[in-house]
């Protein structure tokens, strides 16, 4: 069969039709002429000629079928027919399309998130060669620890697997170009940063290695967005000096639109000067990104880094003993925490789609039994089985395409509300927009095709296997129904089982979330305002001056009307920020840092505990006695005492803290435990130091006040500006928002799973309802007799309920088995709830059973209201 001329003929079908008409007419005329020549009358000549042609329409059709691609033509016919069938049953069509639209829409929405975050390659050239490298410590159980600057320099000099490595440190900057100071998040980067990512600036240049030398680092690169917002896209800005943290810096470049780095919300980039000076020896704070050399595998790079880490451990054992280095592909690294939850969500919507398919398959079977006569007639007239299967399948395809169209609309709405659940200022793993784009559309299309096959093919094959004789002879709907009913039962069992699995998942997430938000954070987040300040290093380089600066700001805020208490901390609780330091008792010889115990530390102001409403268990808070040059003091938390001085009085004990203070600090108080990094993390041993004695460059101000916090926020900002008009204030939010944002991701999962489970149970309920309705309608006769003989409605319900409950019971067993099988994948997402939590399993089973029973009782009760006379006459 040669396709090309046929396809071509399909395209020029009109002309061909014309040709054919002409050809036949010419034939006819020649025949008439010959007939006339043979002596016929004109009338007879014409009749004879036409008779020879027979049914000219049929014959033209036949000839045309040869010319055009008959198959395509027939398909088009099938589609038209299917469309008519669906139009004729608007109720059925609406239910089926809506069911599919829910399934396909939910899948599209979740897939667009999964695609944007997990699947799409990072937006840099050859992203597969990008890796991130962390330090790792067996002792601290941290495979991804930020990196020490000197170690980074050693990595850069001694590793052999990388084209280049870059170090990154996050920072806040105060820009004050004209008028109002603004606080901008940025990144300090080593000059290789841009070449590692292979991103060229939109304007100007990136950093040179000279700019990584301390003292020559007064350059800045702006994001396109900041340039647009603050400088009105003025190209002349490049080369100009702007005020950055109180010092003039030259704008050397503008990055292209949309340029970003995962997990940093940076709008400016400044050089990161790194030297091997002593002061860098202890701290670890760098993020390292690198590009693998062409042809170097990940495991080769990992081996290489083990070797280099071994070298640094030997070179500086004090700081590096027991430390190593880990290499991770960048995409995997930045999506580390969200991968499992997203896959779980995608699997959940996948289940939902399967349930939707089972439901529609059932609808098709149910309707199909009503069409047995039609199908029987068709096959009696000579339609091949394949032809009937195709006809039915085309109907399914049409349904799923309609479902896809409606589903895309649902997905559009769903995605919007989904993204609204994500906190505004969360550092997302990917900053590329999440939208329904061509890739997602392709996925949706295949999802629709898949659903058409799943829900359409089985009923089509089943229905096409009609017992012709029976279907035609009986003339009722009974023919061949029994087999379909058992197939439908299988579908319903599958639906209920899947709905149970989803409900168990949702139940577990919900319980876990309830546990999580009922955790006592150790402070009270109500009526508490937080705001961030970053102190310009140029103006407050002097430690004494800087320590007094924050005290002055706090004093000014405390004097504001409505403010009850104010304090500060360098890392706000529940924002996943912690800092650690080694320490040792001052009355013993100091071990090396790598061998010292370590604890978290927080630099706070006096009044912190009072403002947070955290209890001081013993001793005192920091106060005016603790000045910059007086005896350094510390407060420790309860966990610290428990871990390091169980049962002892720690007040008056002296500690050497590796962080910042040379002189030993004296413990003057013990604070109650509070949650720091996130709500689910148990409190770690923590040392609090006073900002007056160990002043930081940044702080989060905490203001506890009565009344309208928006008003208080404006007064507090004004108070800050009274102390220094150039001090930018950023991230003004209530502690309740911080609290709520901190649980946004478990909430996101719980809400979505709950919605999916709700839909799943509703669909399963429709399935059970359908099957029981059907068996009731089959037994109308019997029920009528029973009612006529005096059966009450309870008796009738008892008649049909066992079937539904038996199905539900089988489904429960299968669903429970499924849940247990999936529990391992789920465990890491749960907080203080095991994936086999008996209370959840029992209550979900009970719920599903109750819902199934309800779905069964409704049609049963309706049956009892049938007039016995009508029932007896049925059929």
């Amino acid at each position: 069969m040669s396709w090309i001329p046929r396809l071509r003929s399909l395209l020029k079908r009109n002309r061909l039709d014309h040709d054919l008409d002409d050809e036949l007419r010419s034939h006819l005329e020649m025949r008439i002429a010959d007939n006339r020549a043979a002596g016929m009358s004109p009338e007879d000549a014409r009749i004879d000629a036409q008779k020879r042609f027979g049914n000219s329409t049929l014959f033209k059709e036949d000839t045309r079928a040869v010319d055009t691609v008959g198959w395509l033509d027939e398909c088009a016919r099938d589609f038209r027919f299917a469309l008519r069938m669906l139009q004729r049953n608007p109720g059925f069509t609406a239910v089926a399309v809506l069911t599919l639209a829910l399934g396909i829409g939910a899948n599209t929405a979740i897939f667009s998130v999964v695609d944007a975050i997990l699947l799409r390659p990072l937006p840099y050239p050859e992203p597969d060669r990008l890796v991130r490298i962390w330090e790792s410590s067996a002792k601290h159980d941290s495979p991804r620890n930020v990196v020490n600057p000197i170690n980074f320099l050693d990595w850069r000099d001694h590793s052999q697997s990388f084209e280049s490595l870059a170090a990154i440190s996050g920072l806040m900057t105060n820009l004050s170009s004209q008028g109002q100071p603004i606080a901008v998040q940025g990144m300090q980067v080593s000059p290789e940063f841009f070449s590692v990512l292979r991103v060229a600036p939109f304007l100007g240049r990136t950093f040179t290695s000279a700019e990584a030398i301390p003292g020559q680092d007064r350059s800045i690169i702006l994001s396109y967005e900041l340039w647009q917002r603050q400088f009105g896209r003025d190209r002349a800005v490049v080369g100009q000096k702007i005020d950055v943290d109180g010092r003039p810096s030259e704008v050397v470049g503008i990055m292209p639109k949309g340029f970003s780095f995962p997990k940093f919300r940076a709008e400016v980039w400044t050089p990161l000067p790194l030297t091997r000076s002593e002061e860098w020896k202890g701290g670890r704070f760098l993020t390292v990104v690198a590009r693998l050399k062409q042809g170097v595998s990940l495991s080769q790079a990992q081996q290489d880094m083990f070797r280099v880490a071994n070298f640094t451990a030997q070179a500086r054992p004090d700081n590096n003993k027991n430390w190593s280095a880990n290499v991770f592909p960048m995409l995997e690294d930045v999506t580390e925490g969200v991968r499992r939850p997203l896959w779980v969500l995608l699997a959940s919507v996948g289940f939902l789609l399967l349930i939707a398919c089972a439901n529609v398959a059932n609808l098709l079977l149910m309707r199909g039994t009503g069409r047995l006569r039609e199908l029987a007639v068709r096959s009696a007239l000579g339609a091949a089985r394949s032809r009937i299967v195709r006809q039915l399948f085309v109907e399914s395809l049409l349904l799923s395409l309609a479902g896809m169209a409606a589903g895309l609309f649902f997905a559009h709405l769903g995605l919007r509300s989904l993204l609204a659940l994500v906190p505004q200022n969360a550092p997302l793993p990917r900053s590329e927009p999440i939208a329904i784009d061509a890739r997602v559309l392709l996925f949706t299309f295949f999802a629709a095709l898949f659903t058409a096959v799943v829900f359409g093919l089985v009923p089509a094959l089943r229905l096409s296997r009609v017992d012709l004789q029976n279907a035609l002879k009986q003339g009722t709907l009974r023919g061949g129904v029994g087999g379909h009913q058992s197939l439908r039962r299988c579908f319903v069992v599958a639906e209920v089982a899947l709905a149970l699995v989803l409900s168990v998942g949702a139940g577990l997430m919900l319980r876990s979330f309830a546990r999580l938000i009922s955790v006592d954070p150790g402070f009270s987040p109500e009526q508490l305002l937080t705001m961030h300040i970053w102190t310009s290093p140029a103006r407050y380089q002097d430690d004494l001056k800087r320590s007094q600066y924050l005290d002055r700001i706090l004093a000014e805020i405390r004097s504001t009307p409505g403010v009850q208490a104010a304090g500060s901390t360098h890392f706000l609780p529940l924002t996943e920020k912690i800092s650690g330091s080694c320490f040792s008792p001052a009355d013993q010889p100091a071990p090396s840092p790598a061998e010292s115990p370590s604890a978290q530390f927080l630099i706070i102001s006096s009044g912190y505990f009072q403002t947070m409403r955290s209890a001081l268990l013993s001793g005192r808070d920091f106060d005016d006695r603790d000045r910059f040059n007086s005896q350094p003091v510390a407060i420790v938390n309860h966990a610290f005492v428990q871990r390091f001085y169980p049962g002892q009085n720690v007040l008056g004990k002296q500690l050497r803290v590796c962080w910042t203070i040379e002189k030993p600090v004296e413990i003057v108080g013990v604070a109650a435990d509070a949650r720091q990094a996130q709500l689910q993390d148990v409190p770690e041993p923590t040392i609090f130091l006073s900002n007056s004695q160990a002043p930081m460059y940044f702080a989060t101000l905490l203001v506890r006040a009565a009344g309208d916090l928006g008003q208080i926020a404006r007064s507090a900002e004004a108070a800050v500006h009274r102390v220094d008009p150039d001090q930018a204030v950023s991230d003004i939010q209530t502690m309740e928002t911080v609290f709520s944002d901190s649980v946004s991701s478990p909430r996101f999962q719980a809400v979505l799973l709950l919605v999916f489970a709700g839909l799943a149970v509703a669909l399963a309920m429709i399935g059970v309802y359908g099957i029981v309705s059907y068996s009731v309608s089959q037994r109308t006769n019997e029920i009528g007799i029973r009612v006529a003989l005096g059966a009450r409605s309870a008796d009738v319900v008892r008649l049909v309920l066992p079937e539904a409950l038996a199905l539900a019971a089988i489904a429960l067993l299968l669903g429970l088995a499924g849940s247990l099988a999936l529990s391992r994948a789920f465990a890491s997402l749960l907080f203080e709830v095991t994936p086999t939590d008996p209370a959840t399993l029992v209550s979900v089973c009970f719920l599903v059973l109750a819902v199934s029973a309800l779905a069964a009782v409704l049609p049963a009760r309706r049956a009892t209201h049938i007039d016995p006379m009508v029932a007896l006459r049925y059929e």
């Binding site: 040669s2 010419s26 034939h27 020649m30 049914n55 079928a65 040869v66 010319d67 008959g70 198959w71």
Partner: protein
């Protein structure tokens, strides 16, 4: 593609048409006349079979068609056998001989 129910007849018609066209380009009506004449009125080609067959052969590339003027000045569509058609004719002739021989043998045997 729809297959005719009677492949034998279909094949025969193809053979007859190809053999006829081996004499030179001809329009459909002329083909029917020729077959009828040569077979001494025993074989009459139905228009209802001829045109679908001609068009199928055209699609398969055995014949090509173009408009021309008939002997008595009518516009008619002329079919011309292609090289591929010639090969097909040889093939079908061989098949036909095999078939008739086989039938003859059966008849003799019986």
């Amino acid at each position: 593609m729809r297959k005719s129910k009677n492949d034998l007849l279909q094949g025969t018609l193809t053979l007859l048409v190809l053999k006829t066209l081996a004499r030179g380009p001809m329009h459909g009506y002329r083909i029917t006349l020729h077959i009828q004449m040569v077979s001494k009125d025993i074989l009459r080609v139905e228009e209802g079979s001829l045109y679908p067959a001609l068009h199928r052969m055209e699609q398969d590339g055995w014949v090509s068609a173009e408009w021309g003027m008939s002997e008595n000045n009518r516009r008619a569509r002329y079919y011309r056998m292609s090289a591929k058609g010639r090969k097909q004719l040889a093939e079908e002739e061989k098949n036909w001989e095999r078939l008739t021989q086989a039938v003859a043998q059966v008849l003799e045997f019986a």
